[in-house]
Subunit: 335 residues, 2 copies
């Protein structure tokens, strides 16, 4: 069977938002799979802000995507052919499928794919039951250790990870403040049970936050980086935990360094901790998180929404939606 | 017995380095001690950078010294009179004695004084066996958890705390890089066994550090804050621990906020932790640290030096020595 693959390869290092011309859309005939390889038909691509960092020519936690390579991206597909005993034809597989319609992989190490039980809709699995849910869970629960009555602040709170983090914080009995951009996102946060909301596009966070966080902030789950951190550092309590999950406010542009907080000394006065983390480290031990998240999803307790774009040709513009804030919930693309 | 007390009280909030005119030197007759009170004759005052922060009218980990109050300061004295069963006349007592020749206190809570066995010279006890040693020990050993072969960077490395931290890091089998100002301090660091030294007054830390830290930095024990942190964040390894002990580069001036590091995102890429701490939290559990430090001191393994100024009238200028870098080792004043 001849299979054609349509794929986006990187042509230029982008600056700021990506342009279609930073990439090239190529169609090619797939080769036969070799020993231990599998062929996957990609069904849904996951768009995560961190993908933008992989397009920069800078050292990071994963190697940069090289010019001419397929753009790296998580996603889910179905195994079409398999020469690997761990994967059967028809299996649903989750991993780095890339911006392409099909992929051939010898699944080892970083290229490993997880076989996913075919229970929930794929968008749900790529959202709360995927890296998004695991990120929110491990960051907030394992590293943040939220206690009932504590105040938890989440920036990018209406984003995929943020919206799970705020809900888990509520389940844990915390007072939750969410920061998001625009009335629609803020209204959605209220639906999710967030106690107080700051619309950073229509109000001044530096003025609003101290008013809302009257009892101080115990946990800050930061998805955005930049200016807000300085305001937060002025409001933290003793033993505060600041969890750095992302820094989307910088646009993840190479060499674009945002101003740093001028008051890191607050960490000393408050004996506070600021910790960066990556979901990749927690995937091998994600069973506990996924079981708890699955229960909340089944009970209808954990709300989620997916923003599903369509068509492989729309990959670059779909990535940009994360940085313009157009996405409503987890950004996906159906191939 | 009539006892006269000579004391420095705060008259104005200082800006930058303190001036004698920010304070007033007063001599008064001490009242009789009341129930549970003790009268201490102060022998040595300890000068620590954090004292400067207490003179600012800003919320901190201790209340600001109020205008008209005696300047807060740690130190050691001998009990002259006691109405408190926990303290005997002749006991050597360590606590917040203040910039004065005598003090009367009802030792409870924050005003508690520790009775110190009269074994080592007082300057040694106020240095490595005092809060300085406890700070270095708990910051580096308990929070940093240094492993043999790891690279430990210490700024303010020739200061009282820094010079203990670099030595403990060597005892733990680490590769140690120290940053200090001036040839004399750097030479002393070499005597202490520090592997590599950067003289920040005569070289460019941003250029030198990446060359010296070829294997990356696992632990950064930061006494200075400011610019250097950004350079360090570009050099950290996965799971690096950044311990914020002090920020003397700011002069601890009210409202003087130094530029923040623009690359906190490195904490995410490297899954690193930045943690502020205060020695006050560790004093109740300092027995373990003090036993280990005492052993190193008795064996002559842990080197230390004290810079002893004399005369109560010199308190303000002695405090400034910490910020001009004039002090050679732990800054003390003999009354």
């Amino acid at each position: 069977m001849t299979i054609k693959n349509t794929k986006w390869v990187l042509r230029n290092r982008p600056e700021g938002l990506v342009k279609d011309s930073d990439f090239e859309l190529i169609t090619e005939i797939m080769p036969e799979i070799q020993e231990d390889e599998i062929l996957i038909e990609n069904l849904f691509l996951s768009f995560d802000p961190t993908q933008r960092t992989w397009l920069n020519d800078m050292p990071g936690y994963l190697p940069p995507v090289q010019i001419g390579e397929v753009v790296r991206s998580g996603g889910m597909g179905r195994v079409l052919e398999s020469n690997n005993p761990e994967y059967k034809v028809g299996d649903l597989a989750f991993g780095f499928v890339g911006w392409q319609s099909h992929c051939i992989t010898k699944p080892t190490g970083d290229e490993r794919f997880r076989v996913i039980p075919d229970i929930l809709p794929i968008p749900t699995m790529l959202n709360v039951m995927g890296t998004t849910g695991i990120t929110a869970y491990y960051g907030l629960v394992e590293l943040g250790n939220p206690q009932p009555g504590e105040t938890v602040l989440v920036s990018g709170a209406a984003g995929a990870t943020g919206s799970v983090a705020v809900q888990i914080a509520k389940f844990k009995g915390c007072h939750v403040i969410g920061i998001a951009g625009g009335a629609e996102k803020c209204a959605w946060l209220k639906e999710l049970g967030v106690d107080d909301v700051i619309d950073y596009k229509n109000s001044n966070v530096a003025e609003e936050l101290p008013k809302l966080a009257k009892n101080g902030i115990d946990i800050y789950f930061d998805n955005v980086g930049g200016d807000i951190l300085e305001t937060v550092l002025f409001c933290i309590n003793i033993n505060a935990r600041i969890l750095l999950c992302g820094g989307i406010s910088s646009g993840y542009d190479a060499n674009r360094l945002p101003a740093g907080p001028r008051n890191l000394f607050s960490l000393i006065i408050k004996r506070a901790t600021m910790q960066g983390f990556l979901v990749l480290d927690y995937i091998p031990q994600s069973q506990k998180a996924l079981e708890e998240i699955a229960t909340w999803v089944m009970e209808g307790k954990l709300k989620h929404r997916e923003d599903v774009q369509e068509g492989i040709e729309n990959c670059p513009q779909t990535l940009n939606r994360l940085f313009t804030g157009e996405n409503k919930g987890k950004q996906l693309l159906k191939i």
